[in-house]
Symmetry: C2
Subunit: 465 residues, 2 copies
């Protein structure tokens, strides 16, 4: 699956220069290398040749200048929660571990923004924001690093209401491939000043620059929150209910689909007793009256689509338990089969095509031996099929990839994208070409080659050079 033929040793002079700067924060200890050679993707371990732990933007810049001279690849490493092999050093090189850069630098509640270092985790950020009355909504489930979430343009359950990292990053500090430090964006909420470098680096997966500081939007903590679950006799009914809720303009905070197989896994993993049928998880936020209005309107729509057992979770602890269960669905599904791994699909389609898309996919999946629970941020048209495979069985891999390819091609035919939120990494490089066409990929490649002419920044990811 992975070719090691491209691996180059780090030149001894290069290693010596880095060691002189970073001392013990330059490591070639095998356990440390191994720790940086695996993420949440199903790819096997592939360790880097060295790991460097940087403490500051200036240190990152100094490292990049050395690697630029010696043409040694650099792969930024945060929480290691990538699902698409983003952090695997397939051309060898140095894993740049940013986890020492984990400070919330400044909170500006009066401007509803916060500036953080890249290794700040999502949960840590919200813990630090808690007493300010604000929160950061983007929530991909995993306790990812904010830098990694920028790199993959992450989103998750709240995106239907608050948008993705695309909408919620105001400004960045970035170290370029030549080791220059640049700032993109300002603290102003909007700007027409020049090319939108912020949005160019968000979603660039470490291939154009290394993000070392991030300014994010934050939002007032909702006055009132209500969660509800509701079960359906089919996924199609559930999806049609969501489509109408969205089309009616009800500003749901979250609306998640969990199919019967995933519910069963969740019940087992989280010790719950949810009805094992396709289920929607809703969350409504706002003023008490507005929450009531939204919830009532949604409940009426859901009923007309056959929704049953609309059940409320008003108390914070009940709500937390529900969403905790939803967030752990991925890990719950990892226990559907002993020793399994998961190939996670991630297509996103226009909402009007979602029922058709999931329907046809379900039929595909029913014809296969691979267990395949479905989860979805369905309010955005984004859903995941968790293809549960035995990593020791090549036929499982092959079958899962066949299913994945069919799911992607279907989504593209329906006007969608091959990845709603996980990114391209190693896994979707060819799908990216199918999605955008050769001419648009040429434009992306031109940008990559212009900004990283020696191809040292996370080479081999997203785009072939």
């Amino acid at each position: 699956m992975l070719t090691k033929t491209l691996l180059k040793e780090i030149p001894a002079d290069c290693a010596a220069e880095i060691k002189a700067l970073f001392g013990e924060r330059f490591s070639i200890s095998p356990p440390i290398l191994d720790h940086h050679g695996r993420d949440e993707s199903p790819y096997p371990l592939l360790a880097p040749q060295a790991v460097v732990f940087a403490n500051t933007t200036e240190e990152v810049a100094a490292l990049v200048k050395i690697c630029d001279r010696f043409e040694v690849p650099i792969i930024p490493f945060g929480a290691g929660t990538s699902l698409e092999g983003h952090i695997l050093p397939i051309h060898g090189g140095i894993a740049l571990d940013l986890n020492n850069m984990n400070r919330v630098i400044a909170i500006h509640p009066e401007d509803m923004m916060v500036t953080v270092e890249p290794a700040v985790r999502r949960k840590q950020l919200n813990a630090e924001l808690k007493d300010t009355g604000y929160f950061f909504p983007v929530d991909p489930g995993a306790d990812a690093s904010i830098g990694g979430m920028c790199a993959t343009r992450a989103s998750g359950t709240n995106a239907v209401r608050y948008g993705t990292m695309r909408e919620n990053v105001l400004a960045l500090t970035v170290v370029t491939a030549s080791g220059e430090i640049i700032r993109t964006g300002t603290q102003a909420k909007k700007s027409s000043a020049g090319y939108d470098l912020t949005r160019l680096f968000v979603g660039s997966e470490g291939t154009l620059g290394i993000i070392t500081e991030i300014t994010l939007k934050i939002y007032p903590q909702p006055e009132e929150i209500a969660a509800a679950i509701c079960s359906f006799s089919s996924v199609t009914e559930a999806v049609n209910a969501v489509i109408e809720v969205i089309q009616m303009g009800i500003p749901v905070a979250r609306v998640e689909l969990v199919d019967e197989l995933a519910i069963a896994a969740i019940n087992q993993h989280s010790k719950l007793s949810l009805k094992p049928s396709p289920t929607l998880f809703f969350e409504f936020i706002g003023s008490p009256h507005s929450v009531q209005e939204q919830a009532q309107h949604a409940q009426e729509i859901v009923k007309t689509h056959g929704g049953q057992d609309f059940e409320w979770a008003i108390h914070p602890e009940d709500r937390a338990r529900l969403w905790h269960a939803r967030h752990n669905a991925y890990f719950a599904c990892l226990q559907l089969q002993a020793g399994c791994r998961i190939i996670n699909t991630d297509v996103c389609v226009p909402i009007s095509k979602l029922a058709q898309c999931i329907d046809e996919t379900r039929k595909d999946l029913d014809g296969s031996w691979i267990k395949a629970p479905i989860l979805g941020h369905v309010g955005d048209g984004n859903y995941h099929v968790l293809l549960v495979i035995d990593p020791d069985k090549p036929e499982d891999f092959q079958e899962a990839e066949r299913l994945n390819a069919a799911i992607v091609q279907r989504a593209l035919r329906l006007g969608g994208t091959c990845t709603g939120e996980h990114g391209v990494g190693m896994h979707k490089i060819d799908f990216l070409v199918d999605e955008h066409g050769a001419a648009a990929i040429d434009v992306m490649r031109t940008i990559k080659q212009a900004l990283d002419p020696k191809n040292i920044l996370n080479p081999g990811k997203m785009i072939r050079v």
Copy 2:
């Protein structure tokens, strides 16, 4: 002000090839040239050497391929409402008039999106959307073309609620500098598939590619709308009221500041009798109950900041009259002085700095002979000083530019941007460097040179090559 030394004649062979393709839609008739040599900026007429009227994306691509071979500049032309000289052919070349491409191609209410050709005007789009129950919110005042609004990353009065063109463009068709046709984005609401080319072209001012098709988000027409105006004894009080309204998270649809001088101009131009003091224009939208809730909350806040005469405009015709007056403020101010032009500043700062920023600016302006009404999309931290000048008086130009520079430098010191929505054009090229720093400008220049190596796409705008 403009140097003509860089103008090159269009080679005869080039003109012949274009004429063979476009026939009478290739024009060198002086009145037509002149029509394409002026926008709403205070720059004097500078006519292109030829004008081409394209009907399709393929025609645009064919034209660009010819111009690429002969290295002839192309300047896209839509509504001609630029305030920063974007459409002036300062290196000579061809104005590419896109006004024949003015079809709304497809409306997808079920996915809340619409696809249009670039010359579709904002008002035309909303007229065509009217019966669908949806609307497109971005509203820069002028009846600009959607293509031009993409090119400058426009925003306007509704941005405080709905975001700018940055947030509201889903996908583009673009002709590159080599005449390739690419599509950026899909119909999916979100995506992590590759570099965000959509956001790179939005705001690129015609310098990276020519936008020939745009897919936009649309939104349900609000169930209930209420507008109100409220006057204050000082601009500072008004701004402080807005800051608190925004910080309290009240989802106002619009909140606009108009100072006493602009109110006087509006009264005269729109035959109104508003109290000549600093005034806020509010709009609230939502369900009837939510509008009431928002309005009441806002009214309470406004009162604590000395707001007086909170006056409602519930009836559509009253509302329309108010907002029509606000939208025509620019034209009203053009009548403050016979034969005048306006240099319009456009800074945007973090909301917490807005009162200080406008305060200090007001003091600057009070020390000058230039009439300078202030308007602002203050909910976003964006305000305009309309510097009213006599175009025949070089000292007026000089004084206005001195004031403009001071306003920009102040905004940058306060963490803001030199342009919130009008773009850079010719006018803010140096400010752009001040804002982003040389290293970030180098990244922008690298992108420009990589994607337009012969510098034929709107050369001389935004960035020096």
